[in-house]
């Protein structure tokens, strides 16, 4: 049996936003080039977990650590982690007045040496017509998600943290997004942690493991088929109550 080191290790991570403790002792790990899903009911702390891994300053790590490629990055700032290859795709990216998507893409591509992918990815994600517009300003739900994945891809991520890349998008956008995720995974060998609320994406992009987050902790993990089976039986409410009742984490 060969030992394969983990690219991402989240160890006993407790995180607060303001005075509210959102995550309580989360453990999660993902190996090189693996795809993982993170599921959970609304307000479970999924976005907070991705933010803590990425180093977003709004979230404050109280205890525990984030280890990336063997390096404890818990104290590293957001942009340093981005440079190391941790790319966070926002659920709701902000509107950037006067900053065209093209100029932002060029800037990101020049940082991560991905200029040769700009045209290909823009075509793949069908964002060519958005390139001349202010980033995210007046974009539809699908356009916003595709543009955000486009920019995230150009970071040549070693670890892509995708926060609901499929929410609020139509079926056509979803298939473009799924195709792009597969592309990033294959082309860059990216490890992925994807937050989703729908099974459509999970059916398009297969994963190694699914983690279920409830009330600030991972309460269940397993292969996608098994986890979805459990969720179909009793939903999040049932799974969270059942597992927490058993004292499991």
């Amino acid at each position: 049996m060969t030992f394969r080191s983990m690219l991402l290790e989240v160890k006993d991570l407790s995180v607060a936003i303001g005075s509210h403790e959102v995550l309580k002792g989360v453990n999660l790990s993902a190996g090189e080039s693996e795809i993982h899903y993170l599921l959970g009911p609304n307000a479970a702390g999924k976005t907070t977990l991705l933010s803590a891994i990425a180093g977003v300053p709004r979230v404050r790590v109280k205890s525990g650590k984030v280890v990336f490629d063997g390096v404890d990055v818990t104290s590293y700032p957001l942009n340093e982690r981005a440079k190391m290859g941790i790319a966070l795709a926002y659920q709701l990216p902000p509107e950037l007045v006067g900053v065209s998507l093209r100029s932002l893409a060029k800037l990101v591509a020049s940082r991560f040496n991905t200029e040769m992918y700009v045209e290909r990815l823009s075509r793949m994600l069908s964002v060519e017509t958005l390139l001349g517009r202010d980033s995210f300003k007046g974009f539809s739900g699908g356009e916003r998600k595709r543009a955000e994945l486009f920019l995230t891809s150009l970071m040549r991520p070693r670890l892509a943290l995708l926060d609901e890349p499929d929410s609020g998008v139509d079926i056509d956008s979803l298939s473009l997004i799924a195709e792009a995720i597969e592309f990033i995974h294959e082309e860059f060998g990216s490890t992925m942690l994807i937050v989703t609320h729908t099974r459509l994406l999970m059916e398009s992009v297969s994963a190694k493991e699914v983690h279920v987050l409830c009330n600030g902790g991972i309460i269940y993990r397993g292969p996608p088929g098994e986890v979805m089976g459990r969720l179909e039986e009793g939903g999040y409410r049932g799974l969270c109550a059942e597992v927490e009742g058993d004292g499991q984490r």
Partner: protein, 403 residues
């Protein structure tokens, strides 16, 4: 036309906007034309502070002294374009005599009155004959060089039927000059189906007071694009340029104000839609920092219909010692006029900084990207040469606004 007595009485008439200035605190020089090159200090300051090469400039004025630009004047004469000091044009050109003081009233306020009574009609006169598209920008440069002096400049531009011209003006004080008063009067005539692009960059000193007075008249089917920017500290600047639009005429007034010191920037723009199918856009982009107080006034009045007007103001504060106030006014009593406005002001968003940092940018780089975005007002349909000019000015403003 007001009588001399009425103009003299107007010397006591403050502007309704901005702080009042005691004109007796300043001394005026006599306007003169000299046949030599401006000093190296002027050239260096013009290049460094407003990005204009004095060698390229067709008109250079330092204080009340105008430097003859024989070569540049000759270059434009090849296109039939006249560029010369106004005091010279008033002696030699009947058109200039007819146009000067045709739009600006000498008794408008104490500053126009002062320029009328005591100014030497320094400033530039530009005439572009019918059907001529001037292929290069007409660069002009005005520098104030002494702390206690007043500089008056009276500019008259006539772009005749079907012609096009770009006029770029840089106004500055050199490094180390802190005071002075600049009174700049500009009268722009845009004839039928003609187009005038006027780009201006200001770089003053902490103690400088600035009172520009600008009126443009755009005839049927004509187009006027004004791009104004200031990035320096100033004691106070108060300007409210106005444009009158005839049938089918259009105007776009863009102001980019980067307040960078504890001065007052009271800058606006007004449009009067006089003819049917006329339209105007007034766009302000504001960055307030280091204790600057910025008032952005905009007004559009529609007297005919159909007519369209839009006011847009975006402002961002970089510290809590600075302030921004926006005052948009829309006015009409005619049916079918479409007038709209939108405004948003606030601190530079931490969320946006954070977003860009998540893309690997440092905080300073993220700030620069956002500020550049704020300042890059959308100016669609402009020729590439003007776009290049505006990009150049924007780079200047961002560079200096960020210190």
């Amino acid at each position: 036309m007001a009588s001399v007595e009425e103009v003299k009485r107007a010397l006591q008439k403050p502007s309704p906007y901005g702080p009042d200035i005691d004109l007796s605190a300043y001394e005026a020089d006599r306007a003169e034309l000299v046949f030599k090159e401006p000093s190296g200090e002027v050239s260096l300051s013009a290049r460094e502070r407003v990005g204009i090469s004095v060698d390229q400039a067709t008109y250079v004025q330092v204080g009340e002294t105008v430097f003859a630009r024989a070569m540049a004047e000759k270059l434009f004469r090849e296109y039939g374009v006249v560029v010369k000091p106004l005091f010279k044009a008033l002696k030699e050109e009947s058109v200039a005599q007819r146009l000067a003081w045709g739009l600006i009233k000498a008794d408008q306020d104490k500053y126009t009155a002062y320029a009328y009574l005591y100014g030497g009609e320094a400033g530039y006169y530009v005439y572009v004959p019918p059907g001529v598209r001037v292929p290069v920008p007409i660069y002009t440069c005005l520098s104030l060089f002494s702390d206690n002096r007043v500089q008056t400049a009276h500019n008259v531009v006539y772009v005749d039927e079907g012609s096009e011209a770009i006029v770029t003006t840089g106004c500055l004080v050199p490094h180390g000059v802190r005071g002075g008063l600049h009174i700049g009067l500009s009268e722009f005539y845009v004839a039928e189906k003609a187009r005038l692009v006027f780009a201006m960059i200001h770089s003053w000193g902490e103690g400088t007071n600035v009172r520009p007075r600008t009126i443009a008249r755009v005839s049927e089917g004509g187009e006027y694009l004004s791009y104004y920017s200031i990035y320096s500290p100033v004691a106070s600047i108060q300007a409210y340029p106005r444009v009158h639009l005839g049938r089918g005429a259009s105007a776009k007034l863009v102001s980019v104000i980067a307040g960078s010191g504890p001065g007052i920037y009271d800058i606006g723009g007004g449009a009067v839609l006089e003819g049917e199918d006329s339209s105007a856009e007034i766009i302000s982009r504001i960055i307030a920092s280091r204790g600057s107080r910025i008032v952005s006034r905009s007004s559009i009045e529609a007297l005919s219909s159909p007519a369209k007007g839009h006011i847009e103001c975006l402002g961002v504060m970089l510290d809590n010692k600075s302030s921004i106030e926006t005052i948009p006014v829309l006015r009409t009593s005619v049916e079918g006029a479409e007038l709209t406005h939108e405004a948003a002001i606030g601190m530079l968003s931490g969320e946006k900084l954070e977003y860009l940092m998540a893309r690997g940018l440092t905080e300073e780089e993220a700030r620069s990207v956002l500020l550049r975005g704020y300042l890059t007002a959308e100016v669609k349909g402009i020729p590439p040469s003007v776009k290049a000019e505006i990009d150049r000015i924007t780079e200047y403003v961002v560079k200096h606004a960020l210190g």
